[in-house]
Structures are given as C-alpha cells and as structure tokens.
C-alpha cells in the first residue's frame, strides 16, 4: 500500500461545530426521506438505460454550493466560513479552476463522513455519500441509495472490489480498495481545511498546480470574504511558477492574484480601517511593477471585471465600480450581468440616462438567456433530473434579476421624465412579479410625479394589499392618509 505517512491520518473532525453536524444530519435525512418515498430510481431499471450526460465533480460542487447559498438567502443558519471543495485524484483530468487535483493517496486523508464521493472502476462511474471513515479498521462505508445493487459489491465491478457490510454499518470497502476506485470527493469545510492539508502534506506546498487550484477554487465560490484567503495561494503559485519558468501558469496566477487582492482590498476597506487594505494594495503595486497593468487587465474576462466592479460598489466606490463595468461592457457588450451592474453603478452616480440604457439592454439579454436555457432544458434527457434542476435554478435566479433590472429601467426613465417608458417598465415589473409590491409602488410614484392623486392612491392601495411587512405597510398607509388630507 502506498502511504504518504502523514502525521495525522485524518483531517480535523468537524463535529464540535453543531452547525456542520446539523447540515450533515439534514443531508442524511433527505436520503432517508428519499428511501421512505420508494427511493430514487436506479438508472439501470429505466426502459431505455442510455448513459446520462456526465456530471463532473466541479458541476456537482457548483450545484451543492448554489444550494447552500440559496439556503443562506432563505435564512437557514449557516457557517460564514463554510464552502464546498472538490478534490480529485490527479490521475484524472479535472478542472483545475474549480477543483483541486491531489495525489490519490491524499483522498483517504480528506475523506470524511457526509462527503459526496465519485467512484469508478473505469466502466461505471457513480456518485454516493460517505457514511463514515473508520480510521482504526481502515474502512470507508457508504450511504448509497441502492445498497443492494451497489456496483462495488463483489462481482459487480471491474476493479475487483468487494464491498461488504461490517457490523451494523452500511456497505464499506477497505482503504486500499478506496484508493483504487476513488476519483474524487466533494466536501464542506472552512478554508482551514487547506491549511491543515498543507501542514500535514508539506511537500504539496511546493506544487504550483495545487496552490493555483486552491486559490482558484476559493475565488470560484464568488464570496468576497474568501478573496483574502485565496490571495496567498495564488501568490505562492505565482512565485513558484515564475521560478520554474511556467509562463502560462504564472500569467494565470498573476491575473487571478490581481483579482483576489483587489477584491480583498475593497472588502477589507469596508470596515472603516483603511490601513487594513494596505498589504493587498502593497502587493498589487508589486505585481503591477513587474507586469504592466494593461497586460494584466487585458487578461481579465468580463466575469473578473464584474467581480471587481461589484466589490468596488459594495465598498461604496461607485465611480471605481463604473470604471470596472465600463471595461467589462467594452470587451463583452452582450454580458448581461455587466450591463445590469453598470446600470446600478450609473444609477448610483446619478447617470440616469446611462443607467436606463444599460438596464433596458440587460432586460433584453436576460430574456434571451432565459429562453436559451429553457430550450436547453427542454432538450435534456427526461431522466436528467440534475440537469433540469440546475436549469430551473438558473431561470429563477435570472428572473429575480430581471425584476431588479426593470426597477433600474423605471428609475432611469423617471429621472429623465420619460413618463411613458417609466410606466412601461413598472407595468413589466408588475407582470413579472404580480404578487410583490415593487411594481405597484413604482406606478404610484410615477402617478404622484404626474400629480394624478386618484391614480396614485389606487396604486398605493394595490401595494398595501400585497405588503406583508407590517412596518412597510404602515408606511404606505401613512402615505395614503397623507394624500387624503
């Protein structure tokens, strides 16, 4: 057995934090419910068991991460510092910007109860959940929806693996068997997992690829709070790649380090302690002294630029945000997010004409994107629930964004006194979200500007009827009463 002999044979346990335990419990409960409801259909039982489109570890990670973020937005208790990581064995070709390739022996150290693991005997590829990793007996057990037909049972796989139930635990395999069939895993933890991984596997700290992937994956989550954590990995990747003459990797590291440092500087600066951003700014200066700023900027794509603009906007620097979005729109005029974000920045800087133009364009692109996703969704294999779910989730998110874009259209037109266009935007908002108050309130605001009291009152009444928040309703009622005087 190949053994890296790490000082500690497993990553730090998560169970002292009741939040992680709860999330794992919830994940397990879903599986129980699924089983009680008759279980998920086994793909091989389908009348037409064609292979489904492959789902990569990174896609799956992105999907569960999106679920986590959506849960946070719904107010589910969460761990600020938690995120999903995807690790895969470096024997396979992965996506280094979204998952971290590690030597296959390291997967044993990383594996933990509650993780999703991708197993393969090179014929069958299968995602399942880890029930437990017993470090004493060196067995890993699985929480699989189809335990009776689990492909790692003896005779059902080409790898010679013989999964068996030991004691009261579900089906399990040995560490050596796991080494043979584990392709990768998805796990939830804090960035401290990476620190611990490097502490226990010091040789990996010299790897350009692993450092680069760690930095890129932390950036991939698109949470600004991780930018300053991503930066040191990218910084190390840049140093190592430069030393070794790996120009392509060095360029990628430099570009992403620029993004991470800039976002971190904006984010840290928000706390009102300007000096806190200093190390990030100092390092930015050092990078731009080595690589011409225009070279770095030219390498950034519209997503990077949007991210920078967004960070600047959140930090209360709308002019800087606008400059980033200008660049984004210049290189990708059909980038809906860039148009939408620039509309916000233009609105914040009182450029209502520009804001309305961008918002109208964002709406057009949004509608086109939704239609395209619907077409793709309808073309999916009917059994591809994951693919359909991901498409629905994108459509929902884009629809929410379109409502915000209509609001920006409305504001822009209203401030320019383009009353008809403002009315059209408010009407579109009402049509899109008829149960929300936003459109009705805007109609009321428009009629109020036009001095039409009766119409204003009517729209206010409509808004009041739909307002669920007592304070907001009280405020609207106050307005209505004021108008009645």
């Amino acid at each position: 057995m190949s053994n890296t002999s790490p000082e500690r044979i497993e990553r730090p346990r998560r169970d002292p934090d009741p939040r992680i335990r709860d999330m794992l419990y919830n994940a397990n409960m879903w599986e129980v419910f699924l089983q009680l409801a008759g279980g998920m259909a086994y793909a091989g039982d389908d009348p037409n068991p064609r292979p489904l489109p492959p789902t990569t570890l990174s896609d799956l990670k992105q999907s569960v991460e999106a679920g986590l973020q959506a849960a946070h937005q719904r107010g589910v208790r969460h761990i600020n510092n938690a995120l999903y990581f995807a690790f895969y064995s470096d024997r396979f070709k992965g996506e280094p910007d979204r998952s971290i390739a590690v030597p296959r022996d390291d997967l044993w150290w990383l594996a933990s109860a509650g993780d999703t693991v991708l197993l393969s005997d090179r014929v069958t590829h299968h995602y399942t959940g880890i029930d437990d990793v017993d470090r004493e007996t060196e067995r890993v057990s699985f929480r699989d929806p189809w335990p009776d037909r689990f492909f790692l049972k003896a005779g059902l796989n080409a790898a010679g693996v013989a999964a068996q139930a030991v004691g009261d635990k579900p089906l399990s395999i040995t560490r050596e068997e796991f080494r043979c069939v584990a392709v990768g895993l998805i796990t939830m933890d804090t960035p401290a997992l990476l620190e611990d991984y490097f502490a226990q596997h010091p040789a990996r700290a010299a790897s350009v690829e692993i450092n680069l992937s760690c930095g890129l994956c932390l950036l991939d989550v698109e949470k600004e709070r991780f930018a300053h954590v991503a930066a040191p990995y990218l910084w190390r990747a840049l140093q190592l790649a430069t030393e070794r003459g790996l120009q392509e990797k060095a360029a990628l590291a430099a570009k992403k380090l620029f993004v991470a440092l800039s976002v971190a500087a904006y984010q840290v600066g928000m706390a009102g302690e300007p000096l806190a951003a200093r190390p990030f700014q100092d390092e930015l200066r050092r990078i731009t002294a080595r690589i011409a700023p225009e070279t770095i900027l030219a390498g950034l794509d519209a997503d990077d630029l949007c991210r920078l603009g967004n960070a600047a906007g959140n930090a209360g620097e709308p002019e800087a945000a606008r400059a980033w979005f200008d660049r984004a729109v210049a290189i990708a005029p059909d980038h809906e997010q860039a148009r939408w974000l620039r509309a916000i920045a233009r609105d914040q800087t009182q450029d209502f004409e520009g804001s309305a133009v961008d918002a109208e364009e964002a709406v057009r692109l949004n509608i086109a994107r939704v239609e395209a996703i619907k077409t793709e969704r309808d073309a999916l294999d009917p059994r591809d629930r994951w693919g359909r779910g991901a498409a629905e989730s994108k459509i929902l998110s884009l629809t929410h964004r379109r409502a915000e874009e209509y609001v920006l259209c409305f504001r822009g037109h209203l401030e320019q006194q383009s009353w008809d266009l403002a009315r059209t935007a408010a009407a579109a908002l009402i049509a899109l979200t008829p149960d929300a108050t936003d459109g009705y309130k805007r109609m009321a605001a428009l009629e109020h500007r036009l001095g039409r009291v009766t119409e204003t009152r009517q729209w206010l009444q409509e808004a009041i009827q739909r307002e669920k928040d007592p304070d907001a309703r009280q405020a609207l009622e106050g307005l209505l009463m004021e108008m009645s005087r």
Binding site: D17, P18, P232, W235, P279
Partner: protein, 614 residues
C-alpha cells in the same frame, strides 16, 4: 537595528533582548569620533529599547505586573526622539519600527483606554510608512497588535460603537492573516486565529450564535499549535481556553451540550496552566470550571444575564437597521419583560429597557410613551445604581436623555422638576405601595390614594398597578381592576397573583376564553397550581370539553389522591362524557374517602342510580 529586525512584537514567543549589548557595540565602533546623525538616531532608539527592557525587568514578573512607569516614560521619550530623527533622515522603516515600539510600550505599560488609543495611532502611523509586503514579519506583528488593541477597545463598548470597533479589528486581522499565510508560518497563523477568535466572539451582530460558533471554530483551529507551544505561550493557551469555554457558555442552542463543551475547555486549561506561575489565569479557569460544573449539576441551562442583554440590544438594532420599528418595539418590550422577570427587580436592565423603549417611541413620534419610558428609565436607574457602581454613569446618561427629550418637545421648562421627581420616584412609590398594601383591607380608600400616588410617581410600576387592581376588584369595579391587571402583566407577564386575579376579573366580565388563557399561563409557570387546575377543569366542563376537564381533574387527583371533591367532579365529567363505568369507579373511591354520613348516603344513591343505567 533596522526594519530588518523582524523579532516579534508582543509575541508569545521569545521576547527579543540584547539592545544594551548592541548599544555598547555601537558606541565602541565609534572609536572616539563624534556620532553621525544616523548613529545618534540609532543610539536614541537603543536607549529607548534599553529603558523599556529595564522597565520590564523592574516589574515583579507576575501576570499582573506593570513595567516601571518612570523607565517606561523614558523609553517612550527616547523612542519618540528616535522616530523624529528617522523621519528627518527619511529612514521610513526605522521610523515605522520606532512607532511600533512606542505602541508596544503604551500597550504593555499603561492599561488605560487613552493609552490604547494612542498605541493604535502609533501602529497606524508605522504601518503608513511601511511597504508591508517588503517587511511582512514586521507588518504582521503590527497588524496583530493593532487588531488586539481594537478588540480590547471594542469589547469595552456596547451597542453599535462596539460592533464598529470589532469590525475594524477583524479587518485588521484579515491583513494579518494574509501576511501570515504569505509567510507560511504556523505560529503566526495560529496567533492571528487566536486574536480573531477573541474579536469575533465579542460581536453580537449579525447573528450572535453564529459569531460565537465561528469564534469557537477559529480557536479550535489555533489550539493545536498552542498545545504544542504550551511551554512558550502558556498565557495565550490558557486565555484561549477561557475564551472557548466562555463562548460555549454563551451559545444559545443545545445548552446542555454547550455547557459540556465549556466544561471540557475550562478543565483542559485548568489542568495545563501552572497555578504557581499564573495564579490569576488558573483561578479564572478553575473558577469557571467549578461554576460550569455547578450549572450542569443543577440543570441550570439559562444563558448568562449579560449575554441576554447583549442579544436583546443587537436584535433591536438589527430591526432598526431595516426600518422595522414595530418589530424593534416588540423586542424592546420583550427585553423589559425579561428584566422584570429576574429575581431582583426593578434592576439596571429594567432601566436600560425603558431607555430603549423611550428612544423607539420617540422615533415613532409617540411623545407620550417616549416621555413615560425616558422618565421611568431615569427613575429605575437612579434607584438601583449607587454612585460607587461601575455603571453609575448610566444614571447621568438617563438624566441627559430625559432633558434632551423635553428640549426636543419644547418643554425644557419642566425638565428640571421632572428629573428631580424621577430620581426619587421608585423608592417613594415602593414606600407608598408598602403602606397601601398594609391598609388595603382596613382602609381601601386610603390604600387607593397611596397606589394612585405611587403610579403618578412611577407609572411603570407593576406592583402599584397590581395593588390598585386589587382595590378595584374588592370594590366591585371589575373593568378598572381588569385594566390594572392587564397593565401590570404587560410588564410582568409571569406574575401568578396578577394572572389569578385577571382570571377572576375576566370570568366576572364573561370572558371565558380569556380566563382559560390565564389558567393556561399559570399552569405553564406552575403545573401543580391547584387553583388554576380546578378553575380550568371547571371552565372546560362548562364548555363540554369533557376530556379536557377529566384530564385536569386527573392532575388534581395525582396531587391529592384522596380528595373526594375532585373524584366527584371527575365522575360528573365522565358521566357527561358517557363513561358511566368510570364515573362509578370514581364515586366508589369518593365514597371510601368521605366521612360524613349524609355525604356517604348521597354518593351511594348516585352510584346506585348510575349502575342502574349501565
């Protein structure tokens, strides 16, 4: 000596020394020639450092020892001179270093808020001068120390100013985290996490429990390093375990588990810290361990009082930030009710809650309520806080709040008499209530006058409201009595006598559902309350809720197994329900329990009659 000297500043790791030797070397190297301006500046710096070392050496070396103040001042003066000289010579790194050393002197020596603020400014000045990535070790230590100062300043504050300072601390610590990661140094990473855990654990917003659990998680990440470095950093290790334990004590979920985690942390610390070297730290750990064990043994899983106060404050602020004033008012009232529920009331929290409500009603343009609460805040705080109390400044603040309120409502002319009255109101009202209560039977009219006067002085007195309600109840003015019990319960909803009296009033006024709710409330507080059980059973029987009535009579019989009265009542309910056999069984038990012959006869007759219907 220069910015290249990267020895740690206030590091738990070995403290640098040898400045005196360096000074001797510098002077020896001069070889009789006059000092160059650069050498003179270096010498000034070294004089400052030597004086600092001497100031530390002059202390007794215990945990609480402070450096010799005279030597410390000398050190600061030399370092300030050195910083000026470095500035003129454009030696920016050295100038930054001199500022860091001044900051450290202030931080280490003079434990006052002003000194801490001055130290923070020196760190900021030094950091402004530094290319932090060219000198990451030096910058790291400065950021870490600045973060610690901001954390200490923040944790001494309350409300939003506390959050602002702690947010700054955490931002500064993010800079330190970045530098530690770039340096790839485990000890620095662990030390940064240690201070980060302290700062996050002090935050109440945006979500207290999440902050506490984040703090614990961060501390747990740092602890392995400190366990290994116990001999080098015993204070940091012990302090971190105190923090982990205290954080678990404040987590408001799965309290029993939380207390067990707290106990484990305190125990680990108490076992690891040497009491002969660090008696104070060991005392804290051992004391907290004993307290936690006692709480577990008692089954007392309540949150600490100050923790609850902080949570109310943070929740109210959160509601206000999103303009949810009615929600904030609800939380303000919940805070007031909680404060009145404590065994000693009124207390400082009652005063604080009134102040919050005063501000909220003022925002709502409800001047009448705002005035009542600002006035009550001063009244309560003046009554419960003696001048020697550390929070006595709250009285002055409440006085100012009331004065400002009158000024804002253009009634400054009545501010002074109102303030004077408020400051004596609670004790006078309490005296009046005591006197009124004594004469409530003999002279209800005089008692009523006392209670009216008590309420004029302190309109938010649940006692005076309760007593006045009793007088009204006795005189047959039920609506007035009900209004007073309602008002009293608004402040103290868990006061069983007021709930009992309101039950009676509601019943008298025909509000059976309300009366039933009062019974429920009493039984929530005291499940074995005979009166409430009996009343509820009867009310349920009147509503033909036979199962409910039978259940309540059953509970009464559990408490009084031979009470014939309850057996007879239950039998009646069972009969109505159609359970004749059950009714007969209850009546037979009652028959065995009663003594009077006529009771026996009556019961026997009823049993015969029921049997005939079986």
């Amino acid at each position: 000596m220069s910015g290249g000297d990267t020895a740690s500043i206030q590091s738990p790791l070995p403290v640098e020394s040898g400045f005196a030797a360096t000074r001797v070397e510098l002077l020896a190297a001069r070889g009789g020639r006059a000092l160059s301006p650069e050498e003179a500046a270096d010498l000034l710096f070294l004089d400052g450092m030597v004086a600092f070392e001497q100031a530390i050496a002059a202390s007794d070396g215990s945990e609480d020892s402070e450096p010799d103040p005279t030597l410390l001042q000398q050190s600061l003066a030399h370092l300030a001179g050195a910083a000026n000289a470095f500035h003129e010579q454009q030696r920016m790194v050295d100038e930054a270093y001199a500022h860091f050393r001044m900051a450290r002197g202030l931080q280490r020596g003079i434990r006052r808020v002003e000194a801490y603020r001055e130290a923070a400014e020196h760190y900021r000045t030094g950091l402004e001068l530094l290319d932090t990535m060219a000198h990451p070790e030096l910058a790291f230590e400065a950021y870490l120390s600045l973060g610690k100062i901001l954390y200490e300043l923040g944790s001494a504050l309350v409300g939003e100013p506390r959050e602002v300072e702690l947010r700054r601390a955490l931002a500064v610590l993010q800079a330190a985290e970045f530098l530690a990661s770039v340096l790839h140094d485990q000890s620095r990473i662990a030390r940064q996490k240690q201070v980060g855990a302290l700062a996050i654990g002090e935050r109440f917003r945006p979500d207290r429990d999440e902050n506490l659990l984040d703090a614990i998680a961060l501390a747990e990440e740092a602890l392995p390093f400190f366990r290994q470095a116990l001999d080098r950093a015993p204070i940091e290790y012990g302090t971190l375990l105190v923090h982990v334990g205290n954080s678990w004590l404040k987590v408001d979920r799965e309290r029993q588990d939380a207390l067990n985690h707290a106990r484990a942390a305190f125990r680990e610390g108490a076992n690891a810290v040497d009491p002969s070297r660090f008696p104070r730290l060991h005392r804290v750990l051992a004391g907290n361990l004993a307290m936690t064990e006692a709480l577990i043994a008692e089954g007392n899983f309540d949150l600490p009082e100050q923790e609850i106060v902080g949570r109310f404050d943070a929740e109210i602020q959160s509601s206000l930030e999103v303009n949810r004033l009615s929600e904030a008012l609800q939380k303000g009232w919940a805070f007031l009710r909680w404060a009145w529920s404590l065994s000693l009331a009124p207390n400082v929290h009652v005063g604080a809650a009134h102040k919050i409500l005063g501000n909220l009603y003022f925002r709502q343009d409800n001047a009448e309520s705002a005035e009542m609460h600002f006035y009550s805040s001063l009244a309560v705080l003046a009554a419960v806080l003696a001048p020697a109390h550390p929070w006595f400044s709250m009285v002055d603040q409440a006085r100012q709040d009331l004065a400002k309120f009158f000024e804002a409502t253009r009634r400054s002319d009545i501010a002074a008499p109102a303030i004077a009255q408020a400051e004596r109101a609670v004790s006078l009202a309490q005296d009046l209530c005591r006197r009124g209560a004594e004469q409530i039977q003999a002279d209800p009219a005089a008692a009523l006058t006392d209670f009216q006067e008590a309420l004029r002085l302190f309109p938010c007195s649940p006692d005076a409201l309760f007593y006045r309600g009793v007088v009204h109840m006795q005189s047959g003015d039920f609506p007035a009595a009900l209004a007073d019990f309602d008002a009293s319960l608004l402040f103290r909803p868990q006061y069983i006598p007021a709930l009992g009296n309101r039950f009676t009033m509601r019943l008298q006024l025909g509000d059976r559902e309300g009366a039933l709710a009062d019974c429920d409330a009493i039984l929530d507080l005291d499940a074995a309350h005979d009166g409430a059980l009996l009343n509820r059973a009867e009310l349920k029987a009147q509503k033909a809720d036979w199962d409910g009535a039978i259940a309540d009579y059953g509970k009464l019989l559990d408490l009084h197994p031979d009470a014939a009265e309850f057996l007879v009542h239950r039998a009646a309910a069972k009969e109505k329900k159609g359970d004749l056999q059950g009714a007969v069984e209850d009546l037979e038990k009652a028959l065995a329990a009663v003594q009077e012959p006529e009771d026996k006869t009556a019961l026997a007759d009823t049993i015969t009659e029921l049997r005939a219907r079986l």
